[in-house]
Symmetry: C2
Subunit: 122 residues, 2 copies
DNA sequence: CCATCATACTACGACAGACATAGTACGACA
DNA sequence: TGTCGTACTATGTCTGTCGTAGTATGATGG
């Protein structure tokens, strides 16, 4: 409780991952750490969610993978965003702004309806 | 395209419905019309989604139903929000504010990362 | 030297909410 | 008489998320 439920984030995990790939390729573990840090520990993506997002997005052509040796001699799978991925990312950003606008109309932390829309009779 | 995808709204349909019940009981058809109107036609809830939300929320004790004769002599199933429903609604509102804050950090309609967080190395 | 930790994944199956499709029923209206 | 708007119910599918589990390696510490 008090955290962010996955149903809410659903559909935006991909967007968050793509954001982190805009500048440079990255890999699973790093991305998960970045999400955790950038959200101030408020959101921690599950490993399975993350890796299945990679698979799905590669299949959709939003990212491409390549294997590379890390400093420590371990092999890692890096992901790079594609042009289609950038387009998709921008679309999701537009959609987010719209969604935010719409949902916010139904939000009232005090639990009371605004005077202005008490009158909706349709 | 250009609309609001259901995966985003997922988990907030219930919240929108509960908002509309805060003041007075209502029923399926009216609620769907209100959502459509309040969102400026930007979001139209599917009938099946709506009615399955009713069933789910009644089972969870967030709303209760009663049947009533409408002006036109037709029987309608009305729903009334319960105390548990109000509590749940307020929680979802809090959650929404948090979610909004977090997701917004990963949103950039221009498709470029902000200078300030180019440095995330973890 | 062996254990434990952090890293870096893969596999499998379950679940829940949203949705497509379809059908029922009734009153109004033309 | 037929179509439109209203007011639902039933059934099954899909997809993203998540629980659980397991594998493998290098680094760290006692």
């Amino acid at each position: 409780m008090g955290g962010i439920s996955s149903d809410v984030i659903r559909g935006y995990n991909d967007t968050m991952i793509l954001y982190l790939l805009l500048d440079r390729p990255s890999y699973g573990y790093e991305i998960s750490k970045m999400i955790r840090a950038m959200s101030d520990e408020k959101y921690v993506i599950k490993e399975t969610t993350l890796y299945s997002a990679f698979t799905r997005m590669e299949k959709n052509g939003f990212i491409e993978s390549f294997s590379q040796m890390a400093d420590n001699g371990k092999r890692r799978t890096y992901y790079r965003i594609t042009e289609a991925g950038r387009r998709y990312y921008r679309e999701k950003c537009e959609e987010w702004l719209l969604t935010q606008e719409v949902i916010s109309k139904f939000i009232s932390p005090q639990g009371t309806r605004a005077l202005r829309d008490r009158e909706w009779r349709v």
